[in-house]
């Protein structure tokens, strides 16, 4: 490798790069948090407004609070197992499998809930619409949950593969796993917050 390449690519220590990446991810979490704040604001704003009594029209079925928490639990498990993997190098292979599995199961549950929404309305022409503002908000929050699961599963799969791959920069990889921990923890917090939100129907 040439001198130039060395200078451009390996200018900073792995720890410096790792800390920088962690800060960057935390700033993206701030942006994601603002989006979540907006969704929760929308939920409670329309709930309290209850325009025309159409927050949850009479007779419309809704998901129970349990279903919201059912989606949150896999995120919490993923955050815990990933953290355990960070603490124990020996357990890392196992914990990364559990983390990925938890995220896949959670993603599947969320997808299944979206596929079987009980509050859709179909008119004579076959056009489907959401019956009430609760239904609209629920679908949006569930959609953002799917996005969180998809992105987290991508990260967890990468960690799983990399844990089994040799010749990778070990210290930088460890920093990246710590950075991933920030994301997983945030996803768990976001899932809990949406769980609380969707419990107040």
């Amino acid at each position: 490798m040439s001198h130039d390449t060395e200078f451009h690519v390996h200018h900073d220590s792995d720890a410096a790069v790792g800390r920088r990446e962690r800060l960057g991810v935390r700033l993206l979490i701030v942006a994601d948090g603002a989006f979540l704040f907006g969704m929760i604001f929308s939920y409670f704003y329309l709930r309290n407004l209850n325009a025309g009594g159409n927050w949850l029209p009479k007779g419309v079925k809704h998901y129970s609070a349990t279903s919201a928490w059912l989606v949150a639990i896999p995120f919490v498990i993923a955050a815990i197992t990933h953290r355990a993997g960070l603490r124990s190098k020996q357990a890392r292979n196992l914990t990364s499998v559990v983390t990925l599995l938890a995220l896949l199961v959670g993603g599947f549950i969320q997808w299944d809930q979206l596929a079987h929404m009980p509050f859709l309305l179909k008119d004579d022409g076959g056009v489907v619409s959401f019956n009430g503002a609760y239904a609209s908000n629920w679908a949006l929050i569930a959609g953002s949950g799917i996005f969180h699961y998809f992105l987290s599963a991508f990260i967890a799969l990468g960690i799983l593969i990399r844990n089994r791959t040799t010749n990778l920069p070990e210290e930088l990889d460890l920093w990246r796993q710590r950075t991933a921990q920030s994301w997983f923890t945030w996803c768990a917090i976001a899932a809990i917050l949406t769980g609380i939100t969707l419990s107040i129907i």
Binding site: D4, A31, V127, F130, A135, S136, A139, L157, R162
Partner: protein, 628 residues
Amino acid sequence: MSTLDMTSTHSRPVPHPKRSLITRLHMGTGVVVGIIFAALAYYALKSSLLTYTDKVADPLTPHTDNIVLLGSMFAWSIGFLVGIGAFIGPWRWMIGKDLTDEEILYMAGDGQGIKRYFKYCTDHKVVGIQYLVGVMTLLGVGGTMAMMIRTNLARPGGHFVTATVYNSLVGLHGITMIIAMIIVATGPFGNYIMPIMIGAYDMAFPRLNALSWWVLFTAIPVLCSAWFLGGIPTGWTAYAPLSVQAGPGMNAFVATIIIFAVSTAVAGMNITTTVVAMRTKGMKWNRVPIFVIGSTISVALAIPAFPTFMLAMVQTGLDRTFNTGFFDANMGGSGWLYANLFWIMGHPEVYVILIPGVAALMEIVPVFVRKPLFSYNAAIMGFAGIAGLSVLVWAHHMYIAGWAPSLNGPFMVTTEMISIPTGLLFLVLIGTLWRGKPWMKLPMLSVFAFIWDFLIGGITGIYLSDVPADGYLHGSMYVTAHFHFTLMGAALTGAIGGLAYWYPKMTGRMLNERAGYISFWFVQIGFNVLFLGMFMAGAEGQPRRVMDYAAVFAHSNMISTIGAYGVGIGMIILLWAVIHSWTKGTIAPMNPWGAKTLEWTVPYPVPLTNFDELPVITSDPYGYGKGK
């Protein structure tokens, strides 16, 4: 440490990683893959939805049409990014085969000449130039639309364009210019100059830096497609439920904002991280150049602000496609929800636009009066105070809408309070100029223009923040004139000053000064004639966003149109000066202004890693008059 050849950065042999896909991808492959993705999404969605509607013997509804269009637009964006190689890095990380050092260097565009501007190049200087060209293009398109609007309004009963086209012109001019203004300073200068100013060898996340530009690039054709889909009839604010009911062109608006918000979040995160974590040794916070501080506060403000606009657009998109009811009162929704989400972003966004322009001018003044910046701390307090208060003022846009009238008073107070930190910015500029002998070069003219323009913009804003006065002025041309005086008078004036100041560093040549002067006076005189005329019309009661008006407003509108042509001529001259000087301008010395900040210590072309050895800072950047 390294021994970079400082003079031959662009002539070194191109590092060519063998059998790497990266070497084969560029903008052309991006466009091809983007079109393929869009076409596949279009036909796949259309056929599946037709199959569905066939079952119920019903043709495609507007909602299903919207699904097809929005899906195709996002598919274009993702396809382009796939085709240009944006996802190679994350993919290779996931499969445990990290990019090699040669590949990383290749992606930095080292030794690739002009080709690197059309690739997924991670060099922050390349990204800065890409943003500069992008901004100029957007300003050209948005400005042309403004000229068409003013031509139509020159006389009552004007029929230069049809009513539908006029409506679209107003909306598209608005959103094009807002996007251009948001990136006008932080895009080109924040990417090209700022890392050098803080003594960094690159941005914190070079690949994300390229991503922020190319994501934004994919939004441009999407926005342009609105013309061919019937335009956007809502103005740039896209209020619901009008935006939900609007025709297919509205999908382009929705997709553009969502894509742009992603670009902004990535760019904001990158700039903030770079400044926080990559300042060179000795550059304590009180030694950071004020442009860097201003830009960082601006993008840091954008990080939490823009996602709410993105959310409003996601909800609009869902209402348009899947029949949700966020903004439809019949379904439990509310237009006020949109207004809140939009303005929670919308007002901070004004300051996201404004602060970097002012900060660029603060960077210029000490250099050209050879005095230290007057009260650096006041400048920071001003920026921070504006940023802090800007998130507490959004409902002043909704006085007349009837949302929470009991909050009008508190929002009036917070809005009027924002003039205090804004006043600090004036204090810093005037304090620095005080008893100085300005070197009246081109960049310095923008400082004086800003003080005049932004003073008018700021003071007229106080009237609009006042609830009773707003009751009369709301929705009138007065509002249009006010926000042009703030956005164009501050942000664009600051950016033009910044361009004149940093042009030698970015291009290696001096900007044609005579053309610059002529352009300046055309723009400034035209601008003031244009919008002072508009204040007159607004104060007399002419509503905004209308294509025709009563004869009583004829004089003020004619005055405005004449002013608009002045601005147009001035901007064309500036564009000519930029292009001509880039190729035929006088070769610039390394530090033509004798400035003390770090970007003037590196030669042109700036080496790939900016510095041979990272500098160590021992003094503040404005130590003029304190000896060497």
